[in-house]
Amino acid sequence: MSLAHDARVTVRPTAAVQRSKLRGWPEIDNPAAWTVAAILLIMPLIANGFFLIEIFATTLILGIMALSLMFLAGYGGMVSLMQLTIAGFSAYMVAVFGVSGNANISLGWPWWLAVPMALALATIFGTLGGALAVRTEGIYTIMITLAIGAAFYYFTNQNWAIFNGHTGINTVATPHFWGVNWRADIPFYYIVLAVAALCYFAVDYISRAPFGLALQGVRDNPRRMAALGFNVNAHRVAAYAFASFVAALAGVLQVWNYRQISPGSVSVGACIDILIIAVVGGITRPVGPFIGALIFVLLRTFALDFLVKLGLDGNRFRLLIGLGFLAIVFWSSDGVIGLWQSWRHRQRFGAASSSGRRGQESGRESAQGSSHG
């Protein structure tokens, strides 16, 4: 493949310089990261079933979907609104190939056959969509991916042969092996956590691998990269393929979580929610989507009680989300992470600004800003 070849040959000198600065995994000497990891690991001891599944597992699943968008938007400069559609497609495929309550539709394959099939098909679906989207640039990408997402939503509503119309597919079977019911709260939480960690580190790794660096080069200046001999479109389509696989993993987890899938889960509003999660969390670093997802899930779960307590109408949850999203877009170019960083920067202004990490961080931010401008 010319793609991998080009990347290896041309990026090596810059990558070597970068590596000394990046020190391999940046998380390793960050105590906050270790604390969060430890808390996530012992979570089942702290939280009861409701918090474990409804809050944390849901957060991680939405976070994985938003992570795939963050990868495309942050490193590739392509804001794709179809990541939820890919996840939904993979969820539908699990339901169609696996075992479910709709015996006339489901083929009844065992999960270890149905899941790889669903992942492969969803990745192909996402890659084809991506290949379509990279034919145009910038804001057109949003429009085309939104159109793909909306078309899929209306299609699932109309099609009864495979997608079972607007009722969707119910009672999807969940895996059950080695004597463990993997959909029970605690095992399921650990599955979700493992997949989320895997995706997080994969994205983190790729962002520093030759392919990721080339992708960021394509984001910042596609013409120059093309002149350097990189195949710009191939890099973009490959980014879509990787992001589709991540989103497809999240889709499998989602269908196991709710045990059903219907057009409501792939609606346009839900597609936009993923964008909101990624943008609110921050699209320059892989941790952003998970922070955004936590905020989103907490708001979605508790906004009703909170609003009622304030004496307001509890049904105005989406208004709250929309206003919060607007506020973030208005005041921070990098979501909650950006707000946190600028706050910390102000706290110890001058003292810590000379540290290497901070300098590199702000450099990355300014590159991000110029690509948006």
Partner: protein, 336 residues
Amino acid sequence: MTRFVERHPAWALIVIIVIAVALWLIFAVWPQGLEDAIGRKRVFLNALFNGITLGGLYFLVASGFTLIFGLMRNVNLAHGSLYLFGGYVGYAISASTGSWVLSFIVAFILTALVGVLLQVLVFRRMEGQDLRQTMVTIGLSIVFADLMLWACGGDFYQIQTPNWLIGPVELPLVTAVKSSGEPVYLRYPLVRLVIFAASVVIGVAMWLALNRTRIGMIIRAGVDDRDILAATGVRIQLVFVGVFALGAGLAGIAGVVGGTFQSLSPGEDIRFLLASLVVVIVGGMGSIPGAALGALIIGLAEQLGSVYIPTYAIVVTFLIMVLVLAIRPQGLLARR
């Protein structure tokens, strides 16, 4: 036209053949074999007319969208919300005063005002930042959708058609010939024809305004290069506000039209946003004739599709978009 024929003789031939077949299908009395194969001619003609009139509605929504994009590079994803807002305003006016025409005027003015406020308060602050503007419009569409759900609830509303437009008219198109040799003519709702005629008039007026007036000249110059235009002393912010008001107002009018021959409910905003997205992707971003052609194609595809291949109607629309992107990524009638 002649240049097109010279440059693409094969395409021109295909277009001529398609037009000829379509004309024959519309005007000729269908032979028995054809009716057996694809159904009655009345069904076909109804679907055809529904498609054309739906295309008129899509054109009203999409022309504002494409105008705003063409001049300001602002993908206004809140355009569907403006459509729904116009529809609700039109419903409120026509329900309280009983005047259909008045509801158009008020809906146009109020939605245009919302557009002016958006441009002055929001988009002017982030000029040139395409992605951020688009994000803001997404946030706004969520907020608007929830506010309208709050104010109007989840019910379906339909705007009352005025008395002088109720009922079908007979068109001089023969659908079938009775055994006695007497021809049967097509009957079609008058209101849809009037609305279609109005959208054609609006389209032609917009084309004339853009190509024959001084303001239109300024707008076209702005589409090509707004920096140079501003440097020549044109008050570009004023032009932006005016164009945004016009685009938003057209969405408002379209809302009243949509509320008359379909219905208004939450979710319609997304539907019409999608329709205008697909229409401008097919027709070409920023081009008014492109919006007209795209609207016609999508309207026809949707209606004919829902009659002849009901389960896959939405896929046909989508396939058209894919095909256009594959052959001409910039859209059918875009210049660049």
